[in-house]
Amino acid sequence: MRQGFLTIAWRDLLRFVRFRALLFSSLVQPALWMAFFGIAMSASFDRLAPVGVAPGGLPSVNYLTFMAAGVIGMTSLFVSFYGGIVILFDRNWGLMREIMASPIPRGDIIAGIGLSVVAKSILQATLILIFGLLLGAGFFPGTTPLTGIAAYLGVMLFVAVFSFGFLCLSAAISITLESPEGLQGVITLLTMPIFFLSNALYPVDAFPPVLQALSVINPLTHLVNGIRFFAIGEDFFAVGETYHLTAIDTATSLLVLVLFAALMYGIARWRFAVARVT
């Protein structure tokens, strides 16, 4: 069996666990977002759009529950965008020559780091869900244990595909650039619009048409929709807006994410094929 990607994933996770500070911050950061941003914003939003006045008898959702999907999206975005940085370090100071001179297929290098990053994203997303529940978010309403697990797996499927896509983008940039600063710059440049042109923290319905169009092609929007579909439900009312997320919409969102990931994987493969690591 091909094991190359497992080797790469093992080593990447080894580093993740070894750097205590990294491990600690990546576990605490989402909790902090939920605790501070979530609670603080809940206080304002829930006052502006009070819970419980939902039209048409829709279940009304508090802001904490609403924005948790956004926080999961944001942490997944960060963890996967920075996930490729190991390639940059390896290329400049370490193992990339050993890896490139070994028989492991190039695709397995990307897949291996992808696996590691997906594992990290899932870990963080799970922590956010747990932390959210502790803070009083209403995830998985009205589920039995079995449907609850199914809904959780649905959330994680979206997180996994999304993270893999952005990891591939990060890998493509990392194998191309020379310096970590460059990667940092690109990430900062891209993160802002991706984050704010999405439905992560607020509804996009009130956006001007151009921004709305951009938010529709934004993978983060599709991730957040998917998470909300599984974690909250098909129809709900939040932040003064009514949401109808049908199974069809969700399947479409998944398809968009899969296509996005496939495209990014293709680009990463191409960058690896032309990269000269010496």
Binding site: W10, R11, R15, R97, E98, M100, S102, P103, I104, V277
Partner: protein
């Protein structure tokens, strides 16, 4: 390897190199800094593309079957390529796994190799906490993890203390005795001399001469004479026209010449020639050629003429 060329922009790093290494041989590429040795190695281990020429390793064409070539090859790079934040044992484990060795084999092999390179006590030490020599030994152990058919060593003993160097040479010999073909680059003459079955001297991206260590020394003739005179330039000119000696080169230290016959018989004739011309000889030295002499003699500009058997005067900036 046949007719290999490799350029970086307008820098010609490898300029038409052809050679072949027999199975079971230790083959050295000896050459000064920037000769193109590492570039050649990078092409050989498929990190750089073959721009021109053709390269076969263990019967596989490296352009057509890079994956097969990678599988049979072990490499120790010139620069350190270790993850600073992995331990010695993890480094070997990672490498074995990359080459799809099964768990039991890679554990056992790693244990044996840590013993071989005397790093057993460091098995759980992060590589950033190893000394330079230990890192090198670890990299050599890593190169041996897969029992490669071909082992490539790019300056394996760079920065090692003499005792460790000797030990690395021992490993290399041991590994070679067990059937691994070895290609090594170095700019230590003694290393090439001690280890190799054959040596190619490389300069400016070309192979200047190939031979076994004894044969290469023979090409310089019987003895090497070094003279310090009042006018080295003129002395070199005179001597090269005199027919008394085989080759003359000019270096910072004086005039160096090689002799066809016993040096002690040539020396008096040389003295009288120079005295007659009014050149004073301040010091003289006569010895049998070492690999150093071979190296210095062959890594110069007018080598084509040297090989054609002509006697040339050479102004070499690479004095020692």
């Amino acid at each position: 390897m046949a007719g290999l060329h490799h350029t970086f922009g307008d820098v010609v790093a490898v300029n038409g190199i052809s050679f072949s290494v027999e199975a079971g041989e230790v083959y050295s590429l000896l050459g000064p800094n920037g000769a193109g040795k590492s570039t050649l190695i990078n092409v050989l281990c498929t990190l750089l593309p073959v721009q021109r020429g053709s390269v076969h390793v263990a019967g596989f064409n490296i352009t057509k079957d890079p994956a097969l070539v990678r599988r049979v090859m072990g490499i120790v790079f010139q620069e350190v390529t270790l993850d600073r934040d992995m331990t010695v044992a993890e480094t070997l484990e990672f490498h074995g796994w990359l080459y799809e060795m099964d768990r039991g084999t890679r554990r056992a092999r790693a244990r044996d190799l840590m013993t071989l390179v005397e790093l057993e006590t460091k098995r759980d030490t992060l590589t950033k906490h190893l000394s330079g020599g230990m890192k090198r030994r670890l990299e050599i152990a890593r190169g041996l993890m897969t029992r490669p058919q071909v082992l490539i060593l790019d300056e394996p003993t760079i920065g090692l203390d003499p005792r460790t160097r000797m030990r690395v040479w021992d490993y290399i010999r041991t590994v070679n005795r067990e059937g691994t073909t070895i290609l090594l680059t170095t700019h230590y003459m003694d290393e090439a001399d001690h280890l190799s079955n054959r040596i190619s001297i490389v300069d400016d991206g070309k192979i200047v001469i190939t031979g076994d260590p004894a044969g290469l020394k023979d090409t310089l003739g019987r003895d090497v004479i070094t003279l310090e005179t009042s006018d080295d330039n003129r002395a070199a000119g005179l001597l090269s026209q005199s027919g008394l000696v085989r080759g003359v080169t000019l270096r910072d230290g004086g005039v160096v010449m090689t002799t066809a016959e016993e040096g002690s018989r040539v020396l008096p004739l040389v003295f009288s020639l120079l005295t007659d011309a009014g050149i004073a000889v301040r010091a003289s030295m006569l010895k049998e050629p070492s690999m150093d002499d071979v190296f210095l003699f062959y890594t110069g500009r007018e080598l084509g003429e040297q090989l054609a058997g002509q006697i040339t005067v050479r102004h070499s900036p690479r004095g020692r």
